[in-house]
Symmetry: C2
Subunit: 200 residues, 2 copies
DNA sequence: CGCGGTATTGCGGATTTCCACAATATGCGC
DNA sequence: GCGCATATTGTGGAAATCCGCAATACCGCG
């Protein structure tokens, strides 16, 4: 999924001109005439950022913003508005909007913000992919292996784990070795380091 | 250091009325007639939050905000302004201000924001104290113990560590046991958990 | 100079982990 | 039913860790 700027505005002229501006600066751009249109097109694998008009027919910009958040979007959102007020800007930013700019605005400024947002999103994605691949690894463990892993991470001895799980020590050793193998580590400490912070 | 609201505004009447409002709601408050006054009184152990007027004689609110940031303040800052515009609010929030409210504002709203900011600050402090106490623990280790700890956290076997440090395995065992004792853990895994994330 | 803290090492035994080899049982899909 | 993945257990030995007891050495402080 290439990184795009997703422009949502119900004004045809603005959509066209902004889209042209961005593409002329090397930023791939797709535009949508309504919040509903973008929401329909959105899926969690979209990468890039969103340029969102505040006031639109149908669903408003902030409403779309909230909805995207609920659906797990992490796309940076830049609000665009011709008639914004301070409380609206404050509210948007406190909810995690990337920026809030008033129309008309300086072209270079806007393109810069878009590029910043694109960069942020790219960084977020590499960071997330780390956690993701770890969760993928964990997902490949069997239930037993996960139970053993939990207890290994709690610093428990095999014999204690065996006792807690009501199985023999030998079995614990087997699960332990298997899960280390699957997680690609050689020691319990490496496992702890691997999962440091991003627990699932 | 008790948690306070630090009010910085050059308008006597506003200072008095806001201070009275906050104290009447149970929020201890101290006020300063200028940014310079607060800056002089500030030190890194102050706890609470800052209520900052934008436009003041001498140093402006945003200028003070930047300076505090440079000096390592983590106090949440709520900007107060009677004539703010959107770009100003956006700029403040993107720089990390806690909130940005326009005067006149609803008393309850403001008090709520202050309490939120106070809560945030308190949470930040407990989080920081955790990292701090860990660093304190580490600082009590001897040089050798730290060297051993590094390698233990790298998942190395005692024999390897002994080899790297050119000492006997027995010595490594001793250092290892001592540092576990000092760090208050019983296993290498616990140590890794303890230092998960906040490495010094 | 003696005391205390740190660093160092050895011995020997208890405990634990690691692993190869080997085997049984269950459940699931073709 | 057969093959495969998973779970389970055992034997036995090599390797590593854990730990008490004991000793030597260096260094800074009073």
């Amino acid at each position: 999924m290439t990184s795009h700027a997703y422009l949502v505005d119900d004004d045809d002229a603005i959509r066209d001109s902004l889209c042209w501006l961005l593409e002329s600066r090397g930023v791939p751009c797709r535009s949508y005439p309504s919040a509903e249109d973008f929401l329909a097109a959105w899926n969690s694998s979209l990468a890039g950022c969103v340029l969102l008009d505040i006031r639109m027919d149908g669903m408003s910009g902030p409403e779309l913003f909230d909805l995207l958040g609920e659906r797990g979007s992490t796309l940076p959102v830049i609000f665009l508005t011709g008639h914004g007020d301070v409380p609206m800007a404050v509210s948007a930013l406190k909810k995690g909007a990337f920026d809030f700019v008033e129309k008309p605005c300086n072209d270079n400024e806007l393109v810069n913000r878009v590029i910043e947002a694109l960069t942020l999103d790219a960084n977020q994605r590499v960071a997330a992919s780390g956690a993701d691949s770890i969760n993928t690894l964990i997902s490949r463990l069997t239930a037993r292996e996960r139970q053993v892993m939990e207890r290994v991470l709690a610093g428990k001895l095999n014999k204690v784990i065996a006792d807690e799980l009501q199985i023999s020590m030998r079995t614990v050793e087997v699960h332990r070795a298997n899960l280390f193998e699957k997680m690609g580590v050689r020691t319990a400490v490496e496992l702890a380091q691997l999962l440091a912070g991003k627990r699932s």
